[in-house]
Structure formats: structure tokens, C-alpha cells
Symmetry: C2
Subunit: 217 residues, 2 copies
DNA sequence: GACAAACGCGAATAATTAGTCGCATTCTTT
DNA sequence: AAAGAATGCGACTAATTATTCGCGTTTGTC
């Protein structure tokens, strides 16, 4: 076991090699699928390498052909989700600044819906996200993404209201992210109807949160 | 290792024996202190039994005199915190029902402040709470407490407005808990000034959340 | 001060699991 | 079809760590 290495070298999480033959790219998919399924089955407990290999119909050795360590597998699953946040929020910044309260409300709503969609589209990934949060090795990477996302929320807030102090924008961004994330995670564990109701709650809370910091007339 | 046992028998988390001599009750305190300190030092990674014993100036064997397993130690730390929620919320229910919007606002504020105080008073415990959430064995126990707390928030809401549907009260209770917990956890990681500002945000969000469900005149 | 119970010890046990390595098989290319 | 590269294999290694158990020491009690 070289467990200590993986904690230190960040590069150690990059894919080990690119698949060169067709069969092997299927194998990578099978590994990722197996990891996802097992994580979902086991709640928050991260699956073992052996379990992943077996579920994928492979041996452990084959798994290590494409992933340098176990963490890299989970991270590969999560990265798609994590990276869609920046895309979506940036898109909401490249838009004309709202000029009155009503337009502003609309912008909040759009950001709210777009971020909501990320969760709905990736509902099956949520157990992986939770597993990562609970994993001491992967947590720091999550935190990096989180900081990035907070900064983007803050940038969005300052796009909507340029007079907003940077520090305040950062704090509001943090709260928006946390509230959105916490509520959507629990929402997705319930039925669709409840999820939608919780979404309404989140929108109301977001509006209440940012409203006092609007100097629009 | 009998790791599988602990997952099944819930009793296995109860303290193994009561200290009979003076020296040993000090020992229990030392163990708990060591576990707390180490958890704080290591972020979310739960300390090993050996580490706990050493930090407490003891041997592993002594630790197992008083705790049936490692989980029980962390749980012992967390239970004080977890159990203060019911106390505090129940206290807020045993109070005359508010009769107008302003009194209602006051009641929200009181519940808000009382729950906030739980977090502030137990700030040092937060890493343990996070470690428990990330631990596959302990998570179910957290979830039980959470359900209880949600039920109490719901009971409070129906105390304040008896006309409120039970299902709605449950959902709002869930959201109140999640929002409060998420924001306070991150708030406590920042400076006191920021914590206070985030608290104001939470109060505003709670009010926005429950306001639509008030039929008071 | 003697006896038993409580306490404390830590080497040993055992379970779990990440990651490796040399060999076997399959594919690609010429 | 033959060579060589890529892929696949899985027994094995090694690290980690929870928990036990028998023995020595301390404490409270009569």
C-alpha cells in the first residue's frame, strides 16, 4: 500500500493512461458504471477496488491500468458534475445587466433554474458526491471546486449589482451555494413533488437573501 | 477485528462500564478530550484508537475498558450536542401561541437564537459532527436524530399555526434544519463577524420560508 | 495489611483492503 | 501469420488498524 503518496501528489489522481483499443474504452466505462452503482447501493460507503473490479467483470489489475488509485475513479465521476457549475454560472453572467427589480427577479430565477437543472440531470451521481464529501482524501478537492463556485456566484452577484462590496458578494455566494446544495441533496432523496416544493422554498430564500443588497430602483 | 458486529447491534455503542473508582472517571474524560482534539486536528479524518489512547496518555486496552468500540467514543461526544436540540425546541413549543404577525416574528427569532446558541456553545464539537456525517457506521444514528429534530421543528410550526398541514410542516422543518445546519457549519469556520452576518442571512431566509404559510391576520 | 475488585497495559491477533508484478491472452499491423 | 503492443489477470504483498486477553498494578474495604 502506498496510501500516503496519493494524499500528497495531486497528479496522482489523473488517469493513468488513455485507452488505445476499443475494448479498453468500454472497460473504463464499465469501471465507472460499477463504481457508481456500488456507491449508490452502499449509501455513502465507498466501494473497494475489488468490488468495483468484480462488478465490472474485471480483475483489480485491469482497474489499475486506467486509474492510478481508487480515489481517481470516484473523482472522475464527480468531475463532470463539478465542472458543469462554472459553465452554467458563467453563462448567466454573460447577459445584459438587469435594470429594475423585476428584471432582477428574473435573473435570480434563471440562475436558480439552471443550477437546479444540474442537480436533476445528475441525480444518480449524488451518492458519489456525498461519498466524496465524507472521504478525507477527496474532500480537499471538493473544497477547491466549492471555492471556485462561490467565487462565481459572487461574480454573478456583482454582475447584477456592480456596487456590491466584494466581501458581501462572497458571503452571499457562499450562502447561496450551501443552501442550494443542502436543500437539493435532501430534495432529491424524496419524491419529485417534494423536490419541487423544496425548490420553491429555495427560490424564496435566495430572493430574501439577496434582496436587501439591491440598490436598484 | 469484529467490525461487522458493530454495524448490526445498536447496543454495541453503549458505554461498556461505568467507572467505579475516581481515577477512571478522569480517564473517560481524558479519552473524550483526546478524541475531540485529534478530530479537530485532523479535519474530518476520524482518529485511530491507538492515537486516541496515546494522546490520552493511555494504552488501547484502557480505552476499551470504557468504550465498546471507536464509534462509541465519537458518538458520546456528539450526543450531548444532538440531544440539546430536542430540549431547546421543546422549550419553544411550551409557550403561548402568537396571535399576530409581529408576535410570530418574535417567536421565529427566539427559536432562531436558541438554535444558534447550540452551535456557538458547541463550536469545538463541529469537526466531530462532520466526521460522524462522513462515517458510514455513524451516519444512520445521526439520521435518527435528524428525523427527531425535523419532527420537532414541524411540531413547533404547528404550534405557531395549528392550521398548517402536517406534510407541509414536515417539509418546512426539514428545510429549516438543513439551511440552519449548513450555514452554521460554514459560518463557524469563519470569523465571528462573518458568522453573525450569515446568521442574519439565515434568519431572513427562515422568515421568508415560513411567511407564506401563515394565516395570521 | 490482606484480599478482591477495578484498573491499566501492550503485544498479539485478525480483518480489511490498496496497489503491484510477472505471466497469459488478445488485438493491431505489416 | 508472425511480431509486438496493448490489455487482462489474480495471487501476493504490505500497510493499516480495531479489538482482545492474560498478566501486572493500584485502589478501596474490612
Amino acid at each position: 500500500m502506498k496510501r500516503s503518496l496519493s494524499r500528497e501528489t495531486r497528479m496522482a489522481l489523473e488517469p493513468r493512461k488513455q485507452p488505445r483499443q476499443q475494448r479498453s474504452s468500454k472497460v473504463v466505462d464499465r469501471i465507472l458504471d460499477a463504481a457508481l452503482t456500488l456507491t449508490r447501493e452502499q449509501g455513502t460507503r465507498t466501494p473497494t477496488t475489488l468490488a468495483i473490479a468484480q462488478r465490472a467483470g474485471l480483475s483489480v489489475g485491469s482497474v489499475y491500468q486506467y486509474f492510478p488509485n481508487k480515489e481517481a475513479i470516484l473523482l472522475d465521476l464527480a468531475r463532470r458534475w463539478l465542472s458543469s457549475f462554472p459553465e452554467v454560472i458563467e453563462k448567466r453572467i454573460k447577459v445584459p445587466r438587469p435594470t429594475n427589480r423585476d428584471e432582477f427577479r428574473q435573473e435570480v430565477r434563471k440562475l436558480f433554474i439552471d443550477t437546479s437543472t444540474i442537480y436533476l440531470d445528475n441525480a444518480t451521481l449524488m451518492p458519489v458526491i456525498e461519498a466524496i464529501s465524507g472521504n478525507a482524501d477527496l474532500r480537499p478537492i471538493q473544497d477547491e471546486y466549492d471555492e471556485q463556485i462561490i467565487a462565481l456566484y459572487a461574480a454573478w452577484l456583482r454582475h447584477v449589482n456592480p456596487a456590491l462590496e466584494d466581501k458581501i458578494a462572497k458571503r452571499l455566494g457562499l450562502v447561496m451555494m450551501e443552501v442550494g446544495h443542502a436543500c437539493r441533496l435532501v430534495g432529491l432523496k424524496r419524491d419529485r413533488r417534494t423536490f419541487d416544493l423544496i425548490e420553491d422554498d429555495v427560490e424564496a430564500m435566495w430572493l430574501a437573501l439577496v434582496n436587501p443588497y439591491l440598490n436598484l430602483d
